[in-house]
């Protein structure tokens, strides 16, 4: 009898929706917010190329703040690289912003875990401060009209299907 109950429990757990999605079908940690205009984001990347978020409208932007000393950032970064690879055919733009570190520190870390990324360098940390992340790492999803529409809390396994499908489905 006890075995039957356990088997039923196993069956129910198998047929329930996969974990990673909340009731309103947002992946875990993703919060919809009332659209607010994205703050200014004008920085050079690690190769010295200038970037200005306000000139890149018309598509979704994945804006991510991180630092190599932050444990969750370190754990998350390889999954960001894999997610970017998976979304190569989408028009989402990935804007990776390092907060207040030197080029040496960033190069040493990213060279190993995500060599294809060319992060923007917020060398004094003031751009990060204006965006007011709740902590590092922190991600904002900026819509085609330039408004922040989603905030993502803490580090995530970005290459998991729940996140990749969610990002691919952004309209």
């Amino acid at each position: 009898m006890k075995t039957h109950k356990l088997l039923i429990l196993v069956f129910l757990l198998l047929v329930l929706p996969a974990p990673g999605r909340t009731a309103d079908s947002l992946p875990e940690g993703v919060t919809r917010i009332n659209a607010i205009a994205a703050p200014e984001l004008k920085l050079d990347n690690i190769d010295g190329e200038a970037y200005d978020l306000s000139t890149t409208g018309g598509h979704w932007r994945f804006v991510h703040f991180w630092a190599s000393w932050c444990g969750p950032c370190r754990r998350e970064m390889p999954s960001i690289q894999r997610m970017i690879n998976q979304l190569e055919d989408s028009d989402i733009e990935f804007v990776i912003v390092n907060t207040a570190e030197t080029e040496d520190a960033v190069f040493t870390f990213l060279g190993i875990v995500a060599p294809d990324l060319a992060p923007l360098m917020d060398s004094d940390g003031l751009v990060t401060q204006v965006w007011q992340p709740r902590g590092l790492p922190s991600t904002f999803l900026v819509g085609p009209a330039g408004n922040i529409q989603y905030r993502v809390l803490g580090g995530r396994e970005w290459d998991q299907p729940a996140y990749v499908e969610f990002l691919r489905g952004l309209k």
Binding site: A100, T102, G125
Partner: protein, 187 residues
């Protein structure tokens, strides 16, 4: 036997279900239940000096940092409601005397005196536990709280309000003898 096999299978398939283990999941001191995880990790002056030196902090800043006591705090909201991290509602004491957390005002004053670079100020800021966060379901937060030097250990009473409007049931977690290891050995 069948039950044990099924239990093992469930454990392997569903990481959200805690599996029995004789090992503690976190180093002491920590608190864990279905609503909240709170882990406290006292740091030595040497650990803090090494961390900030490696990030280019000047010696004047290291001297200030190592004359205080750093404790890293990790909190996760495991409930379905908002939990308010508000360090102003925390009570710290040592030998019956209240102990204050050294906040942004204290640090900005110190950094102004030694003219610390903005990049270092920013890094320091992000390594501190934010004073106020409305922790959403599944949201983690971590960072250091710092108390004045010369304290060997302190009592920490962490009070949390809950609910979007803070009208939910309050939570209180206490930690005895949170240490400031090796601080007394500093010059």
């Amino acid at each position: 036997m069948t039950a044990r096999v099924i239990g093992t299978l469930l454990c392997a398939m569903l990481p959200a279900i805690p599996c029995y283990s004789t090992e503690k999941p976190y180093p002491d001191p920590f608190f864990e239940n279905e609503q909240l995880l709170m882990v406290i990790k006292p740091r030595t002056a040497e650990q803090m000096a090494a961390f900030y030196e490696a990030r280019g902090f000047p010696q004047a800043a290291i001297d200030i940092i190592t004359n205080t006591c750093f404790v890293t705090v990790h909190i996760e909201n495991r409930s379905q409601q908002v939990i308010w991290l508000e360090t102003a509602n925390w009570r710290l004491s040592s030998n019956g005397q209240a102990v204050n957390i050294l906040g942004a005002g204290y640090w900005n004053e110190q950094w102004d005196i030694i003219k610390l670079m903005q990049a270092n100020r920013s890094t320091f800021h992000w390594t501190q536990l934010p004073p106020v966060v409305d922790l959403q379901s599944d949201e983690p937060v971590a960072g250091n709280i710092v108390v004045p030097g010369g304290i060997s250990s302190f009592h920490l009473e962490a009070n949390f309000k809950t609910g979007k409007d803070k009208r939910g049931e309050s939570m209180q977690k206490t930690f005895e003898d949170v240490g400031c290891p090796q601080h007394a050995s500093l010059p």
